[in-house]
Subunit: 255 residues, 4 copies
Amino acid sequence: MVNSPIGIRLGPSPSRQLSDLLKTQAIAADALKIDNQLEIRAATLAEPEHGLTEEVLEETDVLTWWGHVAHGQVEDAIVDRVIKRIWQGMGFIALHSSHYSKIFKRLMGTSCSLTWREAGEKERVWICNPAHPIARDLSRYFEIENTGMYGEPFVIPTPDEIVFISWFEGGDVFRSGCTWKRGNGKIFYFSPGHEMYPIFFNLNVQLVLRNAVRWAAPDPERWIDTCPQIPADQAAERITVKGPRMHKEGEEGYR
Amino acid sequence: MVNSPIGIRLGPSPSRQLSDLLKTQAIAADALKIDNQLEIRAATLAEPEHGLTEEVLEETDVLTWWGHVAHGQVEDAIVDRVIKRIWQGMGFIALHSSHYSKIFKRLMGTSCSLTWREAGEKERVWICNPAHPIARDLSRYFEIENTGMYGEPFVIPTPDEIVFISWFEGGDVFRSGCTWKRGNGKIFYFSPGHEMYPIFFNLNVQLVLRNAVRWAAPDPERWIDTCPQIPADQAAERITVKGPRMHKEGEEGYR
Amino acid sequence: MVNSPIGIRLGPSPSRQLSDLLKTQAIAADALKIDNQLEIRAATLAEPEHGLTEEVLEETDVLTWWGHVAHGQVEDAIVDRVIKRIWQGMGFIALHSSHYSKIFKRLMGTSCSLTWREAGEKERVWICNPAHPIARDLSRYFEIENTGMYGEPFVIPTPDEIVFISWFEGGDVFRSGCTWKRGNGKIFYFSPGHEMYPIFFNLNVQLVLRNAVRWAAPDPERWIDTCPQIPADQAAERITVKGPRMHKEGEEGYR
Amino acid sequence: MVNSPIGIRLGPSPSRQLSDLLKTQAIAADALKIDNQLEIRAATLAEPEHGLTEEVLEETDVLTWWGHVAHGQVEDAIVDRVIKRIWQGMGFIALHSSHYSKIFKRLMGTSCSLTWREAGEKERVWICNPAHPIARDLSRYFEIENTGMYGEPFVIPTPDEIVFISWFEGGDVFRSGCTWKRGNGKIFYFSPGHEMYPIFFNLNVQLVLRNAVRWAAPDPERWIDTCPQIPADQAAERITVKGPRMHKEGEEGYR
């Protein structure tokens, strides 16, 4: 019931131990560990800098975020740091109530509102594109026997792709798996994950997590920019300065 | 050289006088006043609440934003208020250096970086779709004889539509007119508007402003939501509560 | 059970009588006639040119298409003509099995495959954005007591907006209301409409049709282009021809 | 000056010889051969089935298409076959005048019109996202000293991403590198490639081709669907058939 980002690093490098985690996060992390090409570590709200130092983020390819009660306790400076790393190319997977996390809301630019109900009802997750990498090895649909309901309207910018739409026993529907790109970071939102139900023990949910981490892996180049000035003498075409200016050569723009 | 949002209200209602504005903003507002079906008022950084009280925003259909040096001085509480009103349906037009305003960056979720140069060079604004409402009554292109350059890479989420792309004498290009939707607010970014050049005197620029205000006008209904709980006994299908829950009936979710 | 496009013209002009139509189409047209600002006429497969002459299309603002058994009998020349008119700005509303019509498939560029079942089951249509013009005056959802099922995966390009997602008694979900733009034509696909059930008698379905027609109304300007050559002496910047060319001055490109 | 698709197969398998090709295509293919992890073959208009048999397409991961004068001579049956293979996941790269090829127009659903000029002018290709895989190892921009001009308005559906925008000496701009997805096929349009200029000798153009082929490589699973019926007794939730139906159990839908 704390905010527990789980950082995943792809590829061959010294593995680190999972910190002591609450059950929900530990299971999600365990699910990922099945894929032994992934190197997984965890970070929790209680750690200094929530465990997300510059160094940790530098080495992280994909960050999986699970948060609920304590959204407001995540420090703004860390939010800024994580967002900048996403813009550079780090993948970001937002789970369940993380739709209302500071980071996800900042990436979306919308309210991220949805409707919800806690009744232990059945959810059936439909695959909208069976060949999507995030749906790999799944059948037409999979079921979660008891869970909380997240329903439409879900206030998000139009996703790049909708991978999953959920059907609920109580009569609702929800865009439960959606992708976006912000800067060079690939973003995936996946709604299952209520902490009072054993969602992350579900083998299909675990498969989605592993698929999603691979899908969200960064492209080879990192890049981020902060409004560089291109002086007139470095213009692609030769030009003569013809008017007044506010900034000196080499000066930064206003922030 | 201050942040001067210009609020525009469409339709028949008592007109207000423009406050005293710096030149740049006054001209932009004047350009809009040519369209006598628009009712225009202005708000400036120096006013209490930057002139953007709840009441003012309630009555505003489209907010045009021009800001530069003082982005950081815009109060976060006002930023939040404006963004909520955009989500409800208020149109938002971000001009020139407002690409780096708090509001625009929050709506986009990206760095909004671009490259720039102040050399008084020529800009030619190309129309990518001559039948787009924002391009109404324009020819194939129009020119701005002397201006600052804004160039690619422009780090934005893929726009819904690109209305304008600019060519620069110094050899650069820029997506100078782009649209998005966030919640129910229609958003238009338009890059011309450097305050040291008479950009807002340009008749084509003025035409774009008027077209854009009409394009960004809200749809009839306002709507915003904040994660309402749908209790089990109000589910669309009859269900029995089958599991534990974290929240009481009628309780709000975590923020 | 034939292909029955229904042409709708907005605004003040002499009304025409509906041709004799099969029940399904007549009801859909009747639903639209409730809005007495709309001028409605119908066209059927059996008519010469399927009733869609150049003149009829010229005068049509929004074309509503319902087709099923006879998709293959719609002449390619008429398909081309309708598509060109859509690119110019005519709205296009594809109903139910029209997801597999020649026109819709050509506009989408995908297979437009879906899954389906005829069991007279209940469909609940959820509104994904209560303030969307196509959802105007609807509640959180509406129900169709007995209908055929259309389910995911629905193979379409990512819609600009998803207005409706349907829940089915048999456990399926479907993106039942989606928008796109092709050229300047606004396109809306709406899946309810099985001809063996009284779908078009449903007051909410009728409301959606009327809302959609208004939403799809063209912007003021018509525009279509066919690769015009811009000769060197009409270039925006003065240039000297510096290389060989395949085409003579004023010649058309290859088709 | 013929339509010459170039099929590229990624990965370890017996290489085939390039057929005898006209200069333009041969150079493009040579550019790709530099990357020795790619296995490249060519196909030309004159071959039976234009060299694109079912077997060839089965083995092709990414199809690069260059066509101009003879768009109309490409057989519709082959167009259908290529498009189905794209929907399954084969990448498709459309070069230069292929914006007007039957295949590209079918995938886009728009007119694909643009403006053009043959004056041997300079083109500067700007990178809109330096970290995009298709822009890998490029600088801020690259130049093509003499080429034909392709300019806005370019009538395409909003691209998923814009990788390149070109600046022209004659004053025009063009979205010269754009991506889309149709079904599971990744599509990239790249405008440089005029056959009377040595465009495909340009090392940066060659780099773009190689990057694009890698970017467009298929995801592991192939999938295509044709509206399967899901009988009532295979529904996810138990349902009783409650109404009439047009189709028998197991029957196909209407095409």
